[in-house]
Amino acid sequence: MTPEPHALPDLVRELHRQATPWLPAGQGTRLHWGPPVQPGPGQERPTIVSTARLNRVLEHAAGDFTVTVEAGLPLQHLQQALAEQRQWLPLDWPWGSSADGLGAGTVGGLVARGMAGGLRQRHLGVRDQLIGIGLLRTDGTAARAGGKVVKNVAGYDLMRLLTGSWGSLALITELTLRTMPLPPQRRGLLLQGEPQQLEPLRRRLLAAALGPELLDWWSAPLGEAAGQPPLPGLLLGLASVSGEAIADHLAAIGADAESAGLRRQELDPERLEALRAVALGPDQGSGPDPLPPAAAGPRTGRWLLRLGVLPAEAAALLADPLLAGLRLSLAAGSGLGLAWAEASQLPAYRVEALRRRCRALGGQLTVLEQPASAGLPAWEDAPSRPLIEAVKRQFDPLQQLARGRLPGVQAS
């Protein structure tokens, strides 16, 4: 269902009265990620309530560097609107978008998944950009938290609670985000070699006075997909008010890379963006697929994994044979990344082994997409599972929302 904004509260109240299970959605571009959503009794598939018609920029306070939008606004439209004022939301396009953000889904979807990419190195994550939220509870109650100012500690931080909640607590209707000026100067560098050769460079780049805007590990197959030699790599992005500072830094790293026997390639902003687009996976920018019939369940013959390890362990992960054949982009500073492969390349037991390996390296693995037959739990129980369930009961007493999809609770 894609109701008009004014009809939304009544619709939600009616669903509540009938105790109908439903799934909050934006454009539905990534509803199939994560654990499958269970339909209610007598339902063939879950009812989907989309915010696609809540798609306005409500207020861009350019001088305050904040923007308030309706949750169903496509992320691409938001970035375009901000760019007109030489601003941006410093977040990566979600995986599966094309280079220009087509197919990136909605701002609400981005927040509901709560996953940031390599730009986290400088700009932190989705939850760190969010300063205000409007939501619709399952009983139709509209509520807000936070506000429109960048600094605010009045009341509980429901922005963070809803970020990464995967539709399990409420329908996100409105968001206020901080914006940033577009960086005046930007350059990049791709270094390639064996993980143990790259690791000292990683440490040096993260510790450098001119900190990276992004620094991503690349697996050899990803390098190959980008038309580079099939070697692991580090993709560096620099941004500064000073082009000279960037040039100095690149020269110094270049010398280090040469003495370490690494392959290096300097990147102008366009080339840097082109490489980053390769890390968004196969181009699916054929436009938003309006609520595909099999949304909210596994539908692909492909693996997409969200994995993380302690940053100092990433080189060990990259060198692990378990990763063979996987395209992987993993932020060097945070240790979080994405890996993907065709179903035929990766048996489920290897994903399970990879999950154990990530855990042993201080992290975790979430299965976003998997072949229908694999049946792996998307995520596992968090230590705070009882508390997570208590929060869920308060927000969704009839267990209507995203049944079977509660972050931190392994689906049974």
Binding site: A143, A145, K151, D157, P181, L182, L210, T366, E380, A382
Partner: protein, 517 residues
């Protein structure tokens, strides 16, 4: 940003409704003698504080006029001890109030009703340092500045720097989601906490967040930070560390109008220069500082003095200083001074750092307000504050974080003047009203605590507050953790209800008063 300066004080904003110490003088609903015996069986002897004169140290926080002496205080040293104490509270239905070092400025760590104070000030161990992964794990009683001290030798630091950082505890920072002068660039506490070990109000111990900044779990860590002790007690905290900047520069510009200073702030931000901090002093403060120094450090007719701190790589900082200086002049700066080496920087900061002391020389007491407005509204709101100041006959000095619109008006008064505290509290409330009308917030970094709970329904609708209460019920169904804080209740906010009635008569549109939960 203001610290628990000994001269800082606050009127009891709800004096008419509550009266100080009323609750703790009422008839006791608990057998505190029996509770003390149970606690002594759980804890070492020195960890239970029951003597009257020792309890005095816990009767207030940085807001010294909110005084309520607690019946008992415990000083646990381990997570197990905290959990055992909280389990006992849960068993007996005894409310508890977590307290760090008592430097808060919103009355949050004070037991207003009969409640056990659990002070974490002896939980002062650094539990783990992991420089390879840029993190450190500490107990909640560790002092903010100790974290940086522990890792500075290796070139790291912990970014959030509330001005009380030499005395405030990390546990308190987590409870309040503390900021600081440099949070413009580096963010507040919530942006720097990876993992929390928490004792929940039923006494169970759990982990919120984890080793990585994103977890496949509801972000209860983010929810817990800034919850002001109402959701449990953090007993171990893992913090992100940052690399200390290579180069720091300070730029000082003076302006003939606040509008021009505001324009400079906007232009610098828009140019893509992200300063570590931007601070403004108004004309009143400038004159107070000049008086204190005995010479004209700043032009006495300056409407605003703007300090900009820039940090990063050396050439980058040099470029940023040039650009920022140029933009200040374009915006109308009359003079621009800059400094790079540490001694010169300290000189430019000296006036700002002496501002509170300078103001304190004019009157012995002042009330520090904490409100936020959108950056572009700063000049307008400051002008309105000046009009209010004249109307109330109370001087107001403005020293504030200009980059993020966080105001800290200091209301100056003489405590011996009859009825002055009522006027101060009314002026403080009117300033918050200005902040809300400008689209801002009633607190940027000091928290709501008991001081501002009666303004929460100015900012939030009943549905908003009821939704926040869902969280409270999930974490603390019996309402034992820091009861009565943050949220307005008819009992604590009778005064507020009257004020709201007055505002409505004036035609101000306000949300409906909140109902009891």
């Amino acid at each position: 940003m203001p610290s628990a300066s000994p001269s800082a004080s606050s009127p009891d904003l709800q004096a008419g409704a509550r009266g100080s110490g009323v609750a703790s003088r009422g008839r006791s609903s608990f057998d505190w003698g029996a509770i003390e015996r149970r606690l002594r069986a759980l804890l070492p002897a020195k960890a239970v504080v029951a003597r009257r004169q020792e309890l005095l140290a816990y009767d207030c926080d940085g807001l010294t006029l909110h005084r309520h002496q607690p019946p008992l205080v415990v000083l646990p040293e381990t997570t197990e001890q905290v959990a055992a104490v909280v389990r006992l509270c849960a068993e007996l239905g005894v409310p508890f109030v977590a307290r760090g070092n008592g430097t808060g400025l919103s009355g949050g760590a004070v037991a207003e009703s009969e409640a056990l104070v659990i002070a974490t000030s002896r939980m002062r161990r650094v539990l783990a340092v992991d420089l390879a992964n840029q993190r450190v794990t500490v107990q909640p009683g560790v002092i903010n500045s100790w974290v940086t001290r522990a890792v500075a030798g290796d070139g790291f630091y912990y970014a959030p720097d509330p001005s009380s950082q030499q005395v405030c505890s990390i546990g308190g920072n987590v409870a309040e989601n503390s900021g600081g002068v440099h949070c413009l660039k580096y963010g507040v506490t919530s942006n720097h906490v990876l993992e929390l070990e928490v004792v929940l109000p039923d006494g169970t111990v759990t982990t919120l967040g984890g080793s990585l900044p994103e977890q496949p779990a509801l972000d209860l860590r983010g929810l817990f930070i800034g919850s002001e002790g109402t959701l449990g007690i953090a007993t171990a905290i893992t913090l992100r560390l940052l690399r200390a900047p290579e180069s720091v520069a300070v730029l000082l510009a003076d302006f003939a109008s606040m509008e021009a200073a505001g324009e400079a702030v906007r232009a610098v931000t828009a140019a893509g220069v992200l300063p570590a901090g931007m601070e403004i002093m108004d004309n009143f403060t400038v004159n107070a500082v000049d008086d204190l120094f005995g010479h004209d450090e700043y032009p006495r007719d300056a409407a605003a003095v703007l300090l900009i701190e820039l940090d990063g790589q050396e050439r980058e900082v040099a470029a940023a200083v040039d650009l920022a200086g140029q933009l200040c002049r374009t915006a109308g700066a009359r003079s621009v001074r800059q400094a790079s080496d540490a001694a010169d920087r300290a000189l430019l900061w000296k006036g700002r750092k002496s501002a509170f002391a300078a103001v304190g020389r004019i009157t012995p007491t002042y009330y520090v307000q904490d409100g936020v407005v959108p950056r572009t509204a700063l000049p307008r709101v400051l002008a309105a504050i000046e009009r209010l100041s004249r109307r109330y006959g109370l001087p107001v000095a403005n020293v504030f974080h200009a980059g993020d619109g966080n105001l800290h008006p200091l209301i100056l008064y003489r405590a011996d003047e009859p009825g002055v505290e009522q006027r101060v509290s009314e002026l403080g409330a009117e300033i918050l009203r200005l902040c809300i009308e400008a689209g801002g917030s009633i607190t940027g970094e000091h928290g709501v605590g008991s001081d501002k709970r009666c303004y929460m329904d100015w900012m939030f609708a009943p549905e908003d507050l009821a939704t926040m209460q869902l969280v409270r019920r999930a974490f603390d169904p019996d309402g034992l953790a820091n009861p009565g804080k943050i949220f307005p209740t008819p009992r604590s906010c009778g005064e507020s209800a009257r004020r709201v009635a007055v505002l409505r008569e004036e035609g101000v549109e306000l949300p409906q008063p909140v109902v009891a939960f």
